[in-house]
Symmetry: C2
Subunit: 108 residues, 2 copies
DNA sequence: ATTATTCATCGTAATATTGCGATATAGTTA
DNA sequence: TAACTATATCGCAATATTACGATGAATAAT
């Protein structure tokens, strides 16, 4: 999406942005919501559940995996995906940073 | 970014995704971090702080405002922006949903 | 061995994002 | 009024994203 100056931002900033970027698509949100609903790991039923082709789902899964938001384990011909909570603290910390008491709403 | 099937997702899913999408760029993360650092509302100093042109910063601010992540109040020739915490509960709730105890990590 | 199933990847087309310079708009000041 | 300052917007070029069908690779079943 056009040129993005990644050189001049903090590693932390880039990391947070990339996680949010991976979360910035309804298909990927829906995939995560679906994975969370299941008691056990679900594989390719995601394709049946969502209104996208198998190829598209696969690409979204790759992106979620690259962002560290899901894990995948191969079991036979099917692949089992589930949520990876590793980066959740990063997200929570970021949101909390924006909520510091110093930031008293000056714009009413 | 190509066709995105917005019709078939929940309003909730679309809302969450659009917030994350707005957070999915380092410039916008940096803007929010900068606003959080200040004790008072900061206006166009963002332009001086970040390695982007005034036009680009303005576009990012519009996006953050459209997503409901910042508020802006005009004071003279300058505009005062600050963080809008309205949607933070939505984000927190979403992350918590993904952390339900039913989702015991099955992929080791 | 052949076939079916599951998932990943490639290639392509359509669309969105990003960034910048230039310009417009609006308030402030001289 | 005219110049100055601060933001917003337009138009363009470059690049990224999304989606799909088709194809490939690997395991499972017959």
């Amino acid at each position: 999406m056009g040129i993005t100056k990644t050189d001049t931002y903090t590693d932390q900033t880039l990391a947070v942005a990339s996680i949010f970027k991976a979360l910035g698509h309804p298909a990927r949100i829906a995939i995560l919501e679906f994975l969370a609903k299941q008691t056990s790991c679900i594989c390719g039923e995601i394709v049946a559940e969502l209104p996208l082709s198998q190829a598209s789902i696969s690409r979204h899964l790759v992106e979620l995996k690259a962002a560290g938001l899901i894990k995948g384990t191969i079991s036979g011909t099917s692949v089992c995906y589930c949520i990876n909570e590793t980066h959740f603290p990063l997200i929570n910390t970021f949101i909390q940073q924006l909520q510091t008491p110093t930031n008293q709403s000056c714009c009413s």
